[in-house]
Symmetry: C2
Subunit: 346 residues, 2 copies
């Protein structure tokens, strides 16, 4: 039976998912019995469509590429236009809400309210937004449990690199005593360029030119992006209700070429390390530049790549390395949550 999806938002991630559903249609059906059918899209700027029998994904993609909107999607006898996000969530026949709206990470809205509406109407939610997980994990996961639905957010940390599912599915039974990682690709790219001899300013310009850094790079270079991610990992993987204000934070803007050279002389490399460590029954968390010895798996992570090390009491330190962003990678993070919801797996 097809898994019916309502997409709240149709930007980069939503389109990335839609492209995968088209390109991998037969393979997903044959190998995993998974058939994703988009029944609704509600996007504040691009328009809203609902057809309980399913929308044609190739048509949607070609229209949005040509016009930037979905309004010119052709009429069908069962097509409804103009539903807002909440009406789409509550009244569509979707099994799962794919929450990929533009969301303010500082408030987690409107995604938090979208989650609540979905859970209360008996629908699963899959998302890649960090805000709702970082700010409302305890409350939302409880609400999902109460309504017997699932909440997937693999993409909230390192896009399609399985930083959430790996520990839950593959490292169960371990006590994870520490999580530390390079959770922001922009800063790691800048630090790599500084090691190659660039100044901070030139490295930042290069990152902006390549699209790794935004015009206002504050969220990345001052460590806010990584901060949200370590809060998610502490809550979900370590089971501790850490809040963002509990995390000490320092970015990379104060690092000088002299600092870089000194680390090199000590056989170390500066990395912006996100860290959450159990101390007694609480977790101490920080974002800070650290000099990492070259023997540490994290020292070898260069460019925009991300990595996390889970310090497990039984399996030892386990590190996963992969992309931290990207249209297809983040689209994939939604897909893996959907596949595992549909096959009843973690």
């Amino acid at each position: 039976m097809a898994h019916k999806l309502a997409l709240i938002g149709f930007g980069v991630v939503g389109q990335g998912l839609a492209e995968i559903l088209v390109n991998k249609k037969e393979e997903l059906k044959t190998r995993y019995g998974f058939e994703g059918k988009i029944v609704a899209i509600s996007d504040l700027h691009k328009g809203s469509l609902y057809d309980p029998n399913g929308l044609d994904i190739e048509t949607l993609l070609s229209i949005v590429r040509e016009t930037g909107k979905i309004d010119s999607y052709p009429d069908t006898p069962t097509l409804v236009r103009g539903w807002d996000s909440f009406k789409t969530i509550c009244q569509s026949n979707a099994d799962t809400v794919v929450e990929v709206s533009y969301t303010d990470v500082k408030t987690g809205q409107p995604a938090i309210d979208h989650c609540k509406a979905a859970f209360e109407s008996g629908k699963h939610v899959v998302m890649s937004n960090k805000g709702p997980v970082a700010l409302a994990y305890q409350e939302l996961s409880e609400l999902a449990r109460k309504h017997n639905v699932r909440w997937g957010f693999e993409g909230s940390v390192m896009s399609g690199t399985p930083t959430i599912r790996l520990p839950l599915a593959c490292l169960a039974g371990n006590e994870i005593r520490e999580v530390k990682g390079i959770l922001n690709g922009t800063t790691n790219f800048i630090l790599t360029k500084m090691e190659e001899g660039m100044t901070y300013e030139d490295a930042l310009s290069e990152a902006q030119r390549l699209g790794y850094a935004e015009a206002d790079p504050t969220a990345d270079v001052e460590g806010f992006d990584a901060l949200y991610k370590i809060v998610i990992l502490a809550n979900v993987i370590m089971g501790v209700p850490l809040k963002r204000e509990d995390v000490s934070r320092q970015g990379i803007t104060a690092l000088t070429p002299e600092d870089i050279a000194q680390a090199k002389a000590e056989n170390k490399r500066w990395k912006l390390i996100a860290r959450a460590k159990k101390e007694g029954d609480k977790v101490v968390a920080s974002i800070a530049p650290e000099k990492v010895p070259l023997t540490d798996a994290l020292a070898g992570i260069t460019g925009a790549t991300n990595a996390i090390t889970y310090d497990c009491d039984l399996a030892g330190p386990i590190t996963v390395v992969g992309a931290g962003a990207g249209k297809t990678e983040t689209g994939y993070s939604i897909l893996i949550d959907l596949i595992n919801i549909s096959r009843g797996q973690i």
Copy 2:
């Protein structure tokens, strides 16, 4: 309900598992609802015990530590002694056979026959032996399916580092176009020491002194150990019935200090790379020393640590790094298979 286990073999891995079951008893029950009860142990040299009501694990461990055998385990009204492995597999009331016998990797025996007996009597099997998976994956997995039981072998590649479960549970939906890795800790330790200036001979002696290499190091340094592991990954992860004779193999014994120095000058490092790559509809596999650029995640893997990179069409390259051996780590590999069998997860 307790998950009843019959251990075939009670060497390092079996004892590693037993220690975890004692030390983590309450935590496993509370967090995963998992209670492992050892009802039988059959070991060619240490003796055989079967008690349908369960053996006392702490007593077993203290006896084997003191005497090297389990014969002096105290009598109980329901205790039976002396059953061989096949009788234990077929006639005990175990849910799962933990196959940790001493097995010849070249023939996969007696573990292959133990698997068959277990599946045919409706029991799951969990193991860390490479042989049966490398030599008989297609046949045994088919037999397990037919009898509606599970076969877990996470520990057959990189002990408790989840090289099997990670792609199956967390990377589903990707086509994995290539698997490449450092799958042998002994050779990676030797190469790391050679980079630090040692000759091959001195590095090998050091590895032997530290217990990383055996007196006859052939299986490691000539690449046989890595070869079995890449065969497993090709079969299980890439779904291709690759056989060991299909893999080209070259060890590290011919590498000279000059080779090491030259790689360094090129910003590269020699690594013994196990590789399986899709080319058209077949897989080409090799074990060979390769000069890996320092920008590759595998270049930073030093000492006895292992790592694998899965080249995924959607998620991009995903690398997992961790221990490749160890008593607790391999004991854990058995535990994670047991937990996931008992909770109905991959």
